[in-house]
């Protein structure tokens, strides 16, 4: 097929990119020990310095759960009665916390580690990835705490225990891939534009209210629903709630949609990062 060969010849860049992309994924695998150490030293460092340690991570979503519960369920009395609203809130807030913290911490990671990045050669992806993974671990511990509280709460906690709990890794992996994709994008932007952190702060706050953390998607007017569904994070929370609160099979459409969204975000984030990785060191 001479045509195809001609096309490939005229575009050697694509082959080159593919080769380097593969080699970086291979690099990352080679340096998996580095990623593991970074995560464990993140956890160690954050918990050594403060008296409350890990509780600081947990405190924020728990306080917010209390605040929004009082606001929505006690003052406005507008919550859905088909599930315990406290846990409805808690699951959403914990998941959002892990996601948004990953992004917020990734923005400045290269600036914070500039001397290191400039003097040791290692695949730079590990820095944002270690942040995402650390938050993922915090999140999983937090889910255990939520389970404990649910146990104390008593019989109205859906069907406890449920075999569907075994499906929990699915939304967790989807959430981590999505957080990784967005983190790779913001950490790159953070190097090139100094005010990315400020802008991200505002974006995250608006994003929070447009994500069905405080309300179920069923509350959204049908006309606006397509817009809300554009939010890649919107379909992850129903998966958690179906599994954890109701102990039932999550909707397959939710899983497929958010998995596809996570894949798109993850691959785009990785390619975006790869494209600017070479220039990153110079800009620090």
């Amino acid at each position: 097929m001479p045509e195809v060969a001609g096309q490939l010849d005229s575009n050697p860049g694509a082959w080159e990119r593919m080769r380097t992309m593969q080699s970086t994924l291979a690099n990352l695998w080679q340096r998996r020990h580095l990623l593991r150490m970074l995560v464990s030293s993140n956890l160690k460092r954050q918990n050594k310095n403060t008296v409350l340690g890990y509780l600081w991570w947990l405190l924020d979503p728990m306080l917010m759960t209390a605040v929004y519960y009082v606001l929505v369920a006690v003052l406005f009395k507008r919550h859905d009665k088909d599930s315990p609203y406290v846990f409805f809130l808690m699951v959403g807030l914990l998941s959002w916390k892990a996601f948004s913290d990953s992004l917020a911490q990734s923005v400045l990671v290269f600036k914070g580690q500039a001397p290191l990045v400039r003097s040791i050669g290692f695949p730079k992806v590990v820095l944002p990835l270690s942040i995402v993974l650390s938050n993922g671990i915090y999140f999983m511990i937090a889910l255990l705490v939520a389970f404990g509280l649910g146990l104390a709460y008593g019989p109205s906690w859906g069907t406890w225990p449920s075999l569907y709990y075994l499906l929990l890794p699915i939304p967790i992996i989807i959430q981590l891939v999505m957080a990784a994709g967005f983190s790779l994008i913001v950490c790159t932007l953070g190097v090139f534009f100094h005010d990315t952190a400020n802008i991200l702060n505002h974006i995250l706050r608006m994003w929070f209210f447009l994500t069905p953390v405080l309300y179920p998607l069923t509350r959204v007017p049908t006309k606006l629903l397509p817009v809300f569904r554009l939010n890649p994070f919107s379909e992850i929370l129903p998966i958690y709630r179906d599994i954890i609160i109701h102990g039932r099979m999550p909707l397959l459409s939710d899983i497929l949609y958010s998995a596809a969204a996570a894949l798109v975000v993850g691959v785009f984030g990785y390619l975006f990062f790869r494209r600017y990785e070479g220039r990153l060191v110079q800009r620090l």
Binding site: H33, M37, R45, N49, I120, F193, G278, V281
Partner: protein, 252 residues
Amino acid sequence: MNRDHVIEVSNVSMCFRVPRSKRRTLREAVFRSMLRRDEIVEVWALRDVSFAVRRGEGFGIIGSNGAGKSTLCLLLSQIMEPTSGTVQVDGQVSALLTLGVGFQGDLTGRDNIYLNGVYLGLTLDEIRSRQDEIIAFAELADSIDMPVRTYSSGMRARLAFSIAQAVRPEILILDELMGVGDISFKKKSTERMKQLISESKALVVVSHSMGTIRELCSRVVWLERGRLVAEGPTEEVVSRYEREALGEKGKN
């Protein structure tokens, strides 16, 4: 690539594009692109540099401040890519450009051995089996389980060097780090360096100390303002460098 060579640098140029305005915010980027192009100053740190490092040799890079030595190290250790030209390296490179940059002050010395070890490319098993050797070499047996922020700068430097020497890479690149610790530690580390050259494929040293260069290197390149001035056997190039560079300074 020639089979006798472990590093081949061919026609390498490196250009840093530095925006004239220091601040770079999204707002400025938007306005600049609408109104006028951002003023960018091109700084050529290296221009058309070519040389090769042979298997099993100590190779020195010398030149005055701003000659492009550190940029060259960044390229050799593949932290940056050259603007044009190629850098080919045959083997696993470990670059020690600044000692102890990866230290986390709140973690103990032992934790930092693990953290820095993996940064430099060791696996966890390798670190586990070498950590006693590292602690002994650093002479830190008493304080290894204390947070590194409590260390004196000499202790930090000793620990950093000891981790670095335990990496035993195929190609080692060193940028100015002979002045570590007190006299006895300095002697010990220089001995260790020599041993590393004999064990590894090559050692590349950047230094302003001609004593160090003479002791460790068999061949040298001399850079000045990003261009290669001379390449050859150590004594030949170093003595010419001492004559001309010092003579230049004498004139000023």
